[in-house]
Each structure stands twice: as C-alpha cells, then as structure tokens.
Symmetry: C2
Subunit: 214 residues, 2 copies
C-alpha cells in the first residue's frame, strides 16, 4: 500500500488539503484529540504517517514511506538521499540571519571575525559563512534561538522566519537571507524509479493540482 | 549576577522547587501564560533562563549561565565541557532498548546483525552497540521514535523511559537498560574554579538541601 509521511506542525493542514484534492483523505490527523500516528485513507488505498518535519526524509529515505512532504529547509540541512520532486508552494518562509536591533551589524559580512552565531541549522549556517569566507563559531541551539543574542552568547542567529513576529517580540532584526523555503514533495528513489504502488499517478495528480488548484 | 539555566519540560517543577529551597525564586516560569524566557529572582540576586533540556549545557558551557540543571541523558549524549557537580535525585528515568512485544528478541545481543535501531540519542546508541560488538545501523529520529518498530523501519529503539506508558501504548517492551538518568547540577568550569557570583555558596546550599530536604 502507498504510504505517505506527513509533517507535524505548520505544514500539516496544507499537506492534508493537497492529498484530499487528489483523492486521499488523511484529515483524521486534524481531529482534536487525535493521538494516532498512523492512519489509513477511508478508501483503503493509502496510509499516512504523522511524524516530525525533520523525520519525514528519514521515513522516505528508508522506504517506509514512498512519498513525503517536508520543508526545503530540512532538505538543505540534512541532504537526505531522497528524490526531490515538486515545489508545492505553501509553507513559505526564509532562512535568515538576525541580530539585536541595537547592534551595529547590518549585513552578515559586518559580523565580527570569530564571532558566534546560534542556530539549529548547523550545516546551513556553516556552509553559508564558509561561502562568505567569514570565520565564525556556530553554537548549536535547538529551542528559542533568540536567547542567543539576548543573553549575549552570540552576535547573531540563523533561523527560519515566516511572519517575523518572534524576531520583533525579541528585539531582533533580519539582516540577510540565506534562502527561501517552501514545502516539497519527496519520494523514495527506488519506489519512484520502479513506480511501485502506482506512485507516478499520484505524483502526476499532485503536479496537476499544484498547476491548477481546484 | 548569578545566572542559572533551567530546563523546560519534565524537570522544571522540581528544579524551581530546589532553587526556591535555597532562597532563589523562579516560580514565575510556572505561571500559566508565561512567555518570558528570562526572569530575575524577586530579591534581585539571580537570573534564570528557561531553555530546552538539551540546550542547558550549551548556555553553561559558554558561561552565559554559571549553573544549570539538566538530565544525565543529555550529559551522556552530548558530553559537554561543563563541571558535573551533583546528582539531584529527581527526574528519574532510564535509557532503554525496546522492541515490539511480538518480536523474538529478549535482549540486545539477540538483535540481528546489521539490523536497525532508531533513536534520538545517536551517540549513546552507537557507543552501546560498539561495546557489545554488535554491528547495527542507528537511524536518527527526533520525534515518536516508537514509529520505528511499528512501521518496520527498525528492529528496536533506544529511548528514555520513565513510566513505560508510551511503550505499552505502542505495543513495545523493554529488553535492556543502558543506564539510569536523573537531574544533575552542572556549572561553568571557569566560574566554578574562580567562585564568581558566590557560586560555591549556592552549590553548598543545594548539597545540603539534597542531603536533608526541608
């Protein structure tokens, strides 16, 4: 049976809407009080796993799910071995460099040599500053990255920004953008090549749906 | 001013109770609707940061907090450069190997060679199986690790177990224990050595409190 990995959090609603539009209904995940992590579509033709955004490529890479939806930021950070098929358009945000509003820095290149940058996107951050040829220390923080500059532990952060509210609330401003991110459809490479579980038909349906939404 | 890093989640309540017993009140973090990540004790003598359990050693290692409370599991997994001072006794749990109840495996050594083990504690898991001389593939999963065996992606998981309810609900059983974990008091090594902000007095008070709680 076709299995799709869906991401918890910000991308879930639009992901479920998309699959519903191509005839697969996983909206049981949205019911309040839902504790299930695995459900079958009412037509019995497909299964969905509800997992962390960052875990989606793992399930797809190991073939436990043939398709998955995940933010481009995760693909950039983890470089998983999956087929990256379609930009789904929703879940738009940007990977940005931010500093305290009262700091003197107005672009990444103005950051001090050997300064500190806090981020949960350690690989993206490292690659970005290597490309700028600016030696900085990346401090790995997995929650409330804003506390880095607020406490003085780091000069800057690199984090995903959607509305910018969290930055504003914490007195931070964006000074540079690494890349823009949206939700992507990914596939298990072998399943995609062998077209197991009629996966290519589903992919084509999603492509049509994205091109001309109903 | 003395700054302490407190962990969000399961250890927070007991951590705040402990500091209250030695005269530092950070209970504002427990008020419903609290969004602050940084507060000062009402006496104005100390500050507390509210951060992820896994981020506590980062703030302490970089000296942004002189003291911190964190689970032993985090210290084992990340091996941060901090002074590990006191076993606080609370927050007890164990790092366990679990498999599907209907699987044939009843100890780690019975797991199949080159099988898969899902865990967010990648280093602990790798070290454990290296010591057993059992080659397995560690699959990094950061949420709902139970889905590993349920979906058939992995034969086993390594995860923290407190009550065992999550395992039972998911049809898994523990077959081995790597180590037991409790909350620990950690300190910034240099602050500890230099006794900045009267930190040794606070540590002594905590030691007394643990030895004979009021």
């Amino acid at each position: 049976m076709l299995t799709v990995a869906l991401p918890k959090g910000a991308l879930l609603k639009d992901s479920i809407r998309l699959f519903k539009a191509i005839g697969l209904d996983f909206s049981a995940f949205l019911e309040s009080g839902n504790r299930q992590l695995q459900i079958t579509d009412p037509t019995g033709t497909a299964k969905a796993l509800l997992v962390r955004n960052g875990d989606v490529p793992v399930y797809v890479e190991y073939g436990q799910a043939q398709l998955g939806i995940v933010g481009y930021d995760v693909l950039k950070e983890k470089a998983p071995n999956v087929a990256h098929l379609i930009d789904l358009g929703f879940g738009g945000c940007r990977m940005s460099v931010a500093v305290k509003a009262e700091s003197p820095y107005r672009s990444s290149l103005e950051l001090p040599l050997h300064g500190r940058v806090a981020s949960k996107f350690v690989h993206c951050a490292r690659e970005y500053f290597e490309n700028l040829d600016l030696p900085v220390e990346i401090v790995p923080l997995y929650g409330s990255v804003e506390l880095g500059p607020i406490t003085g532990m780091s000069e800057a952060i690199i984090d995903l920004v959607a509305t910018g509210n969290t930055l504003r609330e914490n007195g931070l401003i964006e000074i540079d953008v690494l890349f823009h991110s949206t939700a992507r459809l990914i596939a298990h490479p072998l399943s995609y090549r062998l077209d197991s579980d009629n996966i290519s038909q589903h992919i084509q349906n999603i492509r049509h749906q994205i091109a001309s939404p109903v």
